[in-house]
Symmetry: C2
Subunit: 374 residues, 2 copies
């Protein structure tokens, strides 16, 4: 079934059908520019992560603001971006399976494509796909930075894998993928700094091992919204992969900054607009957005500008909102904005962003990589 946009350009907020994914364009643009300015100042490059936004429209805005390209997790995401004209895409993890590698190699006929490795057999498989399609693909060695997920051990083992990439037809050894995902959400700046310091040491160790075998990682890529300044100022990382900075979410709002305050480097610009569908409860109301409009694994969304209102349970299509004593109890049909617990999987539930400024719908962007998990 085709899902139509929930509003037309020019509509007022009240005319937007709900649930709808809303972007506060002023806040979004401030976030976009703030990161662009920071990156320009430090000299690292931004390769923003499309797994967050899942939209060629948003990717183009990042590139227009100076990003050198995009990161993705999946071939399907890369296809959406390249089909819309994006020219430089790095798959920030492993792609396993001959058919997926064939699709990726096909994309390399039209764009610069990179892929990460943490296993020799995968180098061979990607090389075969590249040769078959007559392309070159950039190969990155992913090292385990301490997040204990994908990636080989830093140092000699990583350098050995890089040699395999160098020797493989159709592949160009380009650099090191050194992303530390779990560090992004550590509660204090001290903990985040400690974890990323270890990651930086692992990168240095790997760079030295590469040099010993006559190789050099031209690109060191990693970092997310919670730690990007640390990587950028390390003197080691050359590319940042942040994505959530555009939108932010409750998961990022609860971590603390260097001063111990709530992390407010960027503003909440992403919301789920929801309509109050039931006011029969004494001390609660029910909104028409649930687990199919926002992801719940990081906890419930927050009510934006809703003092005394808190989402206390999430059903498939209902959100129950407790109204504290003395607070305004929303009326039937009233619209509220919810700040999602976790932006990436929330966006993946929707087909359209509705961009709003001064209470009017100004832009509608397609989430063209929604569901592109293959």
């Amino acid at each position: 079934m085709i899902i139509a946009p929930p509003a037309q350009i020019g509509a007022s907020i009240d005319e937007i059908d709900t649930p709808a994914l809303i972007v506060d364009l002023d806040a979004f643009e401030r976030n976009l520019q703030k990161m662009a300015l920071y990156v320009a100042k430090t000299g690292v490059r931004l390769r923003a992560h499309a797994k967050t936004h899942k939209s060629s429209d948003v990717a183009k805005k990042q590139i227009a603001a100076g990003a050198i390209g995009q990161c993705v997790q999946k071939v399907g995401e890369a296809e959406a971006l390249v089909n819309s004209g994006i020219q430089d895409v790095l798959v920030t993890n492993q792609i396993v399976g001959a058919e997926k590698l064939r699709r990726l190699a096909k994309l390399a006929q039209r764009a610069k494509i990179g892929i990460c490795f943490d296993d020799r057999s995968q180098v061979r498989a990607a090389s075969e796909a590249a040769v078959r399609e007559g392309v070159r693909i950039d190969g990155y060695v992913e090292i385990d930075t301490g997040m204990l997920r994908c990636g080989v051990k830093p140092g000699a083992i990583a350098a050995e894998l890089a040699q395999h990439i160098t020797q493989a037809s159709g592949l160009t050894f380009k650099g090191i993928q050194a992303y530390h995902g779990s560090a992004q959400h550590l509660p204090t700046a001290f903990e985040r700094r400690a974890e990323i310091s270890k990651a930086i040491a692992f990168v240095k160790e790997t760079q030295e091992a590469l040099n010993r075998v006559g190789l050099d990682a031209k690109v060191i890529t990693g970092a997310g919204t919670g730690t990007f300044r640390i990587e950028a100022e390390s003197g080691v990382y050359t590319e940042l992969q942040a994505g959530s900075y555009l939108f932010m979410d409750v998961d990022y709002a609860v971590i603390k900054d260097e001063s111990g305050h709530d992390y407010s480097e960027f503003e909440h610009s992403l919301f789920v607009l929801s309509t109050i569908m039931s006011v029969a409860g004494d001390s609660w109301v029910v909104a028409d957005a649930g687990l199919k409009s926002y992801s719940g694994e990081k906890g419930p969304p927050r009510v934006h500008n809703g003092p005394g209102l808190s989402v206390v349970s999430m059903s498939d299509e209902h959100g129950k909102i407790a109204v504290s004593q003395g607070s305004h109890k929303p009326v039937l049909g009233e619209k509220i904005l919810l700040i999602p617990g976790h932006c990436d999987p929330t966006i993946n539930l929707h087909n359209w962003y509705v961009g709003v400024r001064n209470g009017r719908v100004e832009e509608i962007w397609e989430i063209d990589a929604r569901g592109a998990s293959r």
Copy 2:
């Protein structure tokens, strides 16, 4: 972007692209038949809930097996079903907003449509929409069964709302919506029985109040997979709204039955097929399915037939699987089946079910109401 099916009919399991939503057709059909037989024996009717399966193909199988129609939560789901020829759809909650009510009334030109109320103003709004489109819509009073979400208080207040429905042009008062969602997942059969007993008492109280004002609820509708036998055997409920029974999930697997054993009334028939994408870790592997392929708010999925394997962290597109000492460590490219934590929001992430029997893809069903949250 159009998401193509992850396999073709006739393919082997190994040829299915991942992540993919898999249905074990044998288990699915046993679940379908088991509920159909039970319902036929007790004399209650099954109005299965499409919010679980989101697919006209699945709805038609339920109806072919004896279900009298379907439940939905959203107008968009009702549209998908009616467009595919389903003739009897009950919206099991409130629909707020003139445009949504207009769409619903339009559907009533082609199918039997019901809707729930817990507010007088909504009765008026639905009546206006029905009159405008020249249709009749069945109206149900939703009572709060003790789950403290939507619904008016049982008894006189509910009867008063029923009178409003009776008096409203274009609406036919049909019955009582008395679903208790949170009771479905209470850990013990004793707790579930205690909660549903209260719901049954609330229904009786409401039926008596209706009779006092000369009304009669012809339909008492509710129940889910965790409690349906209690409602069915109450002598009060006439329709069951179960949905998850077709597929099951970890959330249902952890509750206990009357004997204190794990709840096994129905079999797991729904899985997310995933490929091992990284084996670089010492004591873990990483699969290519994360929060964009299964919902995580009820906890991680379980590895099916994977002794010693447990999903220990969920990222957007990664699932980290710990391998206990002495267990088989999956190899790169190996495919594993994951039992989702919560079936409904998991299904809503996918566009296709891949039906498998004897290791071969036998059927592919479209999830045509995926994302139909408006």
